[in-house]
């Protein structure tokens, strides 16, 4: 009898603890919309990286005899050409690459500043917190467009790539404000927890506590915010392209393709529709992925 019971329980197996991240991963793969959007994002990233290299038409080849023709199998202009006579499959894939690049790079800038700023303000509290958050309030009240226009014109460079870098920095420099507020709130909730006290008792310096102990513990909301922030930044970049401050020729982005297409919507509607659909798919996939991550990392809403 007792042997049977022992058999059921198995020999004492090493109990492997599951970390919070492991739990989150399991919840994520059980969420169909998150998994599908993860695949879509992966495919989009692959297209963005390799598509322009592999496609038959280069992104800047101009075909003067095939200007603004609709989608056709002739010469493999599957999505048509633009008003300069460039192939739109190549342009759209390249635009996707730049949009994703801007989204990721600006998010990294925003995260780095926002996490450090918010964690320091939240941890030290008191006057430090007051002053730092007052600065955030003031920056919040300055219109985004104005801020970015000025930043973009401070360094006036003809090099389109440097201009692109400037866009990352300009958007990141605006977007970190929200991140700082989120991280500050989380930090305040954490700073009286036992593990912080333990670190203090062990003699850790304040900055060490902030970056070694607090920051790793706020990464959950940060990851969610980052995923949901990439679409926001892609939209901000489109807005900048729309007012003529976005990426410059010969580079392009989804936003720039859309605003070019909007001007041609009567005689060449495919110039508007294709990039709009690609952008919609990209943003949808990123948003569903972000929502899935939120549900996985913070399951209290389910």
């Amino acid at each position: 009898m007792s042997e049977v019971l022992l058999d059921d329980v198995d020999a004492p197996r090493a109990v492997r603890g599951r970390s919070l991240w492991e739990d989150a991963r399991r919840r994520l793969v059980r969420n169909p919309s998150a998994v599908v959007s993860l695949y879509v994002v992966a495919i989009l990233v692959l297209i963005a990286i390799f598509g322009p290299m592999l496609w038959v038409h280069p992104i800047d080849a101009i075909y003067p005899d095939r200007v603004a023709i609709g989608p056709t199998f002739a010469h493999l202009h599957l999505l048509g050409t633009d008003t300069e006579g460039r192939d739109l499959v190549a342009r759209t894939m390249f635009g996707l690459r730049i949009s994703l690049l801007v989204g990721v790079a600006a998010t990294v800038v925003a995260l780095t500043i926002g996490v450090a700023y918010g964690a320091v303000a939240g941890f030290f509290g008191g006057v430090v917190d007051d002053v730092m958050m007052r600065i955030v309030d003031v920056l919040y009240a300055i219109p985004f467009i104005f801020f970015v226009i000025v930043l973009m014109t401070v360094i006036n460079t003809p090099d389109p790539f440097v201009k692109l870098m400037l866009i990352f920095m300009a958007i990141g420099a605006v977007e970190w404000l929200t991140m700082a507020r989120i991280v500050r709130g989380q930090t305040i909730a954490l700073r009286n927890k036992e593990f912080v006290e333990a670190a203090q008792a062990a003699g850790a310096r304040p900055m060490e506590i902030v970056f070694r102990h607090i920051v790793p513990n706020v990464l959950g909301p940060v990851v969610v915010f980052a995923t949901l922030n990439i679409p926001v930044i892609i939209l901000s970049e489109s807005f900048l392209s729309f007012i003529g401050l976005g990426v410059q020729e010969p580079l392009t982005s989804l936003g720039r393709l859309i605003s070019d297409g909007a001007g041609q919507m009567i005689n060449a509607p495919w110039m508007l529709i294709t990039p709009a659909i690609v952008m919609l798919i990209t943003l949808l996939a990123l948003n569903f992925l972000g929502d899935g991550l939120r549900d996985a990392l913070d399951p209290k809403d389910r």
Partner: protein
């Protein structure tokens, strides 16, 4: 409540001054000036122009002059449009932006709030999933994309709605339909998501369990007890959103060719029309401060817990 409002308004004066100073220095840090054109103005004339507008003084002194003017209610002359005051330019554009922004926000509050509440009451059922799907699509459809597509569909293909402008022979509400829908779509998406989350949380709270235990009818539980708590996050969202849309939306005003102040800010910042930029920034910051104050006061009305604090 009144003393709180007055105190908050007094506290916001230094904030406003800081915003003015920060924008002022930021703007003067950008290269170029209002008189830098493609066709070079003779240096002597440029100097006279700069002296006329006080641009030859140190920036700090210009700032003090500007704030001095503000106290007297003078926003200064536009530096690009001769013979026009900043106040006049803003007064021309403000009604359009205000009508457009306000009606979009109100529409978004009702539609988004309604959809979100419905989703919360049918949590994890098909209506819930449908509303949340609409919400995600809405977030992904910025005015930049929706505007031209809506013009193409309703204006060019179906010929049922005007695509641009505010009036042809007389002002008509029909001209506002597309701009308002375009501007409110992203807000509907955000509000319905906020409303769903906060309504679900409110329905789980002890206060609602108590209300139900007392045997109150479901209608009263929802409208009198759950709704006020659930509205709190919407109120904090709507404050800054109100300021944002009232200060004009550049994309909407450009796509639908409407004469609002959103366009003025972008144009003025590009042309370094210093006084006009400052004017629009000022309008925006004042709106933000007032809207946040309004949101805080409304918070107190809705949430009994914050009243004593």
């Amino acid at each position: 409540m009144l003393s709180l409002a007055v105190r908050r308004l007094l506290v916001s004066i230094p904030t406003l001054l800081t915003i003015i100073a920060a924008s002022f220095f930021l703007m003067h840090a950008a290269p170029g000036g209002p008189f830098a054109r493609e066709r070079q103005v003779p240096p002597a004339i440029e100097q006279r122009l700069e002296a006329h507008y006080g641009l030859n003084k140190p920036v700090v002194e210009q700032l003090l002059d500007y704030v001095g003017g503000l106290v007297r209610g003078d926003l200064g002359p536009s530096m690009v449009y001769q013979d026009k005051n900043v106040l006049d330019i803003i007064a021309e554009g403000a009604p359009t932006s205000a009508v457009l922004g306000l009606s979009s926000l109100i529409l978004a509050l009702f539609v988004g709030g309604g959809l979100g509440a419905m989703a919360a009451l049918r949590q994890n059922k098909s209506q819930d999933h449908l509303v949340m799907a609409i919400a995600v699509v809405g977030v992904c459809l910025p005015p930049l994309v929706v505007g031209p597509l809506a013009q193409m569909l309703f204006g060019v293909n179906l010929h049922i709605l005007p695509t641009t402008g505010l009036y042809r022979d007389e002002f008509g509400l029909i001209y506002l339909i597309l701009p308002v829908l375009t501007l409110s779509l992203p807000m509907i998406a955000v509000i319905s998501r906020l409303m769903r989350a906060s309504m679900i949380e409110a329905l789980r709270s002890n206060a609602i369990r108590t209300a139900r235990a007392k045997g109150l009818p479901e209608r009263t539980v929802l409208l009198r007890h759950a709704l006020p708590i659930a509205l709190l996050p919407i109120v904090s969202y709507a404050g800054p959103a109100l300021a944002g849309v009232m200060a004009g939306s550049f994309v909407i005003e450009t796509v639908y060719q409407l004469p609002g102040i959103g366009k003025q800010l972008v144009r003025a910042a590009g042309q370094r029309d210093y006084t006009l930029v400052m004017g629009v920034v000022l309008v925006y910051s004042v709106l933000i401060i007032l809207a946040n104050l309004g949101a805080d006061l409304l918070y107190r009305v809705l949430d009994p817990r914050t009243r004593s604090a």
